[in-house]
Symmetry: C2
Subunit: 268 residues, 2 copies
DNA sequence: GCAAATTTGTTCGTATGTATT
DNA sequence: CAATACATACGAACAAATTTG
């Protein structure tokens, strides 16, 4: 009896799901039926279902039953700049363009603007002291009205001169913030550094993306630090955090000469 | 009584962990102690601990107790080519160089070479029929003797001519496969496309990386397709799958002019 | 709109097995 | 070997969500 019973039950159910005997979205037998079928107690059956649930194979709906999960068609975001437009798919116009190119409809909430104190994550990227003032602009992005990403950009408060007060207005800046900063403050982005990291979602992310409440689905964060010309080499002037649910998003980075086609989702 | 008791207990324990009252690695009270403290049954306490475990906040060791998890210092891999060497940090010499640059010691298993039939994932990338023959080279990489990544590169079998039989030998090719292919077959990589995707680990990955058996820790896969010059534009000639545990790895992509310093881990 | 039936969720008690010290 | 601590398993009861009649 090396393997516990709930694992045996879980394995059996799993094979039925992966073999296709129980199709995606199909309902599994109820807990009481499974109890009879496997001659176990309801609690043991529930342990097996819980095991499958942690691994994202099934989901339970109170009052309804247990269901095999639906496979999600992932969305692909291109991080490297489009050679024609120079824009990448994570932010602003580039993101909208890529979504449209894939035949889907992007939308975004008007930015929510705040002046706040830099936390450790922001301070480290902008090379400013923790607690220094920053302007943050938050945007919620949707694809076909479905929550897609949460984006926060932070600028040092020192950037906000009388010439560039629009940074503080909670409105979309026509043409994008980058063009605005270039026009008003002669700040040009000479390069950026993307960091990709995976972590568990926090509560607000779980709410916004409607993720399962357990820690099953991670989020991928793209941290983009933008640099401008400075006295001692490139100097950070903004940092953008974009959070994506990891179960329905992939990222593509092109380097050198690659096919022009839109990158399709991959398995791996 | 809107919130169930096991959630209340879990929340209380969680606050103690996140506030630092229970430091990383510290042992929590035993289940029986918790049962007395919260005036609940042992099963309810176990439900609370299970909730914390799914979210990666604690780990249990049979016969020992329940412990707050250790924070892992993530390792940062640079995907974009190093401007000086032209090598990226995911594979071959570039990976070794980046690990050494960070003051740590890389090592790798000698490659395991197989001739196998292309599955869907490989076939789609190489634009060959599913089931066509491919040569695969598997490498296990370690940092300071700790499992770091699993790498598999597939080449179409049609590449293996009498001039380039070394592809089939289970030995490290001095100078790397890229240089070898250029010398022997005049195949030069003119560009590559990286895809990053996050998924749950399979059984062999759980074993190799010593991941928890539940689905808590995801793996990030970097799928790199290498292109050479072809009659109708860039043509794929190899695809490399590199699998990293997502809880201890981050990825960096530089674009344009950025600081020369080694990118440090980020939060976000 | 309401009541009944169904289904999963929570909580308790208890017993026994297995890993570690 | 004994004590400790977590793991598995069973049975029972009631609560909450949902669908159905």
């Amino acid at each position: 009896m090396s393997e516990p019973m709930y694992r045996l039950i879980a394995r059996d159910l799993r094979e039925q799901i992966e073999s296709g005997a129980v199709g995606p979205g199909a309902q599994l037998p109820t807990e009481l039926e499974l109890r009879d079928r496997y001659r176990a107690s309801r609690n043991t059956v529930r342990d097996a279902v819980k095991w499958l649930m942690t691994r994202g194979l099934v989901e339970t709906r109170p009052g309804q039953g247990t269901f095999a999960v639906q496979r999600i068609q992932p969305f692909v975001t291109t991080l490297s700049p489009n050679p024609e437009t120079g824009l990448s798919g994570v932010e602003g116009a580039g993101a909208f363009a890529e979504v449209r190119e894939r035949g889907r409809t992007p939308s975004a909430s008007g930015p929510r603007v705040e002046v706040q104190l830099a936390d450790g994550a922001i301070a480290a990227r902008l090379r400013i002291p923790e607690g220094a003032q920053v302007v943050t602009r938050h945007v919620e992005m949707y694809i076909d009205r479905v929550p897609w990403s949460l984006q926060t950009t932070a600028y040092p408060m020192t950037l906000v001169s009388p010439d560039a007060l629009d940074l503080l207005t909670a409105q979309e800046i026509p043409g994008g913030v980058a063009a605005y900063l270039k026009l008003k403050l002669c700040i040009e982005e000479i390069g950026h550094r993307d960091r990709i990291l995976v972590r568990l979602p926090n509560e607000s992310e779980i709410r916004f993306f409607r993720l399962p409440d357990d820690g099953r689905v991670s989020v991928a964060t793209v941290v983009r630090t933008g640099y401008r010309d400075g006295d001692h080499g490139p100097e950070p002037y903004r940092v953008t955090f974009t959070v994506f649910p990891a179960d329905r998003n992939q990222f593509v980075i092109n380097s050198g000469r690659v096919p022009k086609d839109l990158a399709a989702p991959a398995r791996g």
